[in-house]
């Protein structure tokens, strides 16, 4: 199912964060993140600057086509881009998943957790989703720890055609997190 590409990206506010549409002003931060394989490997892999531009554009297109997508996690005070979080379901994906990543310098403060909790709640309560997964590469211990902290449990593996075997974590449903 596709929606006409009228972009309407909600802005979510948490205690410390704003989840908002990715914007051109975030691009240098995003490109720096994707340039670092040691950080980007768990989030689809490293991209050069040109690929990162197309990826950012594809996030906006994903919102237009699906009605949901990745938000930029921004610092509430400074608007600095701290990471990405949102619902991702491109062509070929098994089902919508909630994904997250914190950029360099933004880890260890619970930012991804705070953003993911809000994104999941929004997906259930406003977007009407009935279930969510998170697809995590084996060995991505930080993401597995965060998924488990959110109450998700390992369900199965699946073969991502580009990234190989991934672990599918199933989140608690809407009734369990409301």
């Amino acid at each position: 199912m596709m929606h006409d590409p009228v972009l309407s990206i909600p802005v979510l506010e948490t205690e410390r964060l704003i989840l908002r549409a990715p914007a051109s002003r975030d691009f240098d931060t995003l490109a720096a993140f994707f340039a670092d394989e040691t950080r980007a490997w768990g989030f689809g892999g490293a991209l050069n600057r040109d690929e990162a531009w197309r990826w950012m554009a594809s996030v906006l297109g994903h919102w237009a086509l699906r009605g949901y997508g990745f938000w930029m996690i921004a610092d509430k005070e400074s608007d600095a881009a701290l990471g990405l979080c949102g619902i991702w379901n491109p062509e070929g994906a098994p089902e919508p998943e909630i994904g997250w990543v914190a950029f360099a310098g933004a880890e260890g403060r619970g930012i991804a957790y705070e953003a993911a909790q809000t994104a999941r709640r929004h997906a259930y309560e406003v977007m009407g989703m009935g279930t969510l997964t998170s697809n995590i590469l084996p060995g991505n211990t930080r993401s597995i720890a965060l998924a488990e902290r959110m109450g998700a449990h390992f369900e199965r593996t699946y073969e991502n055609r580009r990234l190989g075997e991934m672990l599918v974590y199933r989140h608690p449903g809407p009734e369990a997190v409301s």
Binding site: D4, P5, I9, E13, A23, R54, H62, A64, L65, P90
Partner: protein, 215 residues
């Protein structure tokens, strides 16, 4: 990056960028009270202008255009346009083309034949990261070549770029073996300016279109 600006960029941009205010169904005090508030969203819209020519309507890409896009990129004809792409790759490329409108304020239109309603291809302005400057690009889908439709649409898109966006003179980036595109570039008055290599490394030719004043 652009030359021959006739309209200040901020003015030109305001003509194509639309900002919509979505309603706030779950405002403060709603189900997110104490945890998060759902604020009024200010969305970076994609607001592609609709342009009509004798035989075509140029409009922004829509979700329903994806099948034709994917079919083209599954075919060998797409080799000179970055293909072939499998459906997941094509979907991401299609999403990128939509996001291009948001990030740049312009992009590739879908071409609809007025008489039949058929989706015949894509023409427009393409300036992703890594490109030297904004490009005028065109692609016709299978069965719609040979009738001058790409030329008709490209002329309209070029005029829009020059008159409404203040861009120009535009380039077109063409694979050296894409003889049909080279012929069209020449018919549009463009001339070979230099060689270039795509970010992927593939060699291409850069054609330069006439100055806005000359068109």
């Amino acid at each position: 990056m652009t030359r021959g600006t006739r309209i200040p960029p901020h003015r030109a941009r305001s003509r194509v960028a639309r900002f919509t205010e979505a309603p706030n169904p779950e405002g403060p005090g709603g189900p997110f009270a104490g945890m998060a508030t759902y604020e009024t969203s200010v969305s970076p819209g994609i607001s592609a202008p609709v342009i009509e020519t004798d035989r075509l309507i140029l409009r922004g890409p829509e979700g329903g255009d994806f099948d034709a896009f994917a079919k083209f990129y599954a075919s060998e004809r797409s080799t000179m346009n970055g293909g072939p792409l499998d459906p997941p790759q094509a979907w991401r490329a299609f999403a990128t083309a939509i996001g291009h409108w948001t990030l740049r304020g312009y992009g590739m239109w879908s071409l609809v034949e007025r008489s039949s309603g058929a989706l015949v291809g894509r023409v427009g302005l393409w300036y992703p990261g890594g490109w030297p400057e904004p490009e005028l690009g065109w692609t016709l889908y299978d069965g719609f070549e040979g009738r001058g439709l790409a030329q008709e649409a490209a002329l309209a898109a070029r005029s829009y770029a020059y008159d409404m966006l203040g861009l120009g003179p535009l380039i077109s980036v063409i694979a050296p073996d894409n003889l049909r595109s080279i012929a069209l570039a020449r018919r549009l008055g463009a001339t070979h300016e230099r060689d270039w290599a795509l970010p992927s490394g593939a060699p291409v030719w850069i054609y330069r279109h006439p100055d806005p004043e000359a068109t």
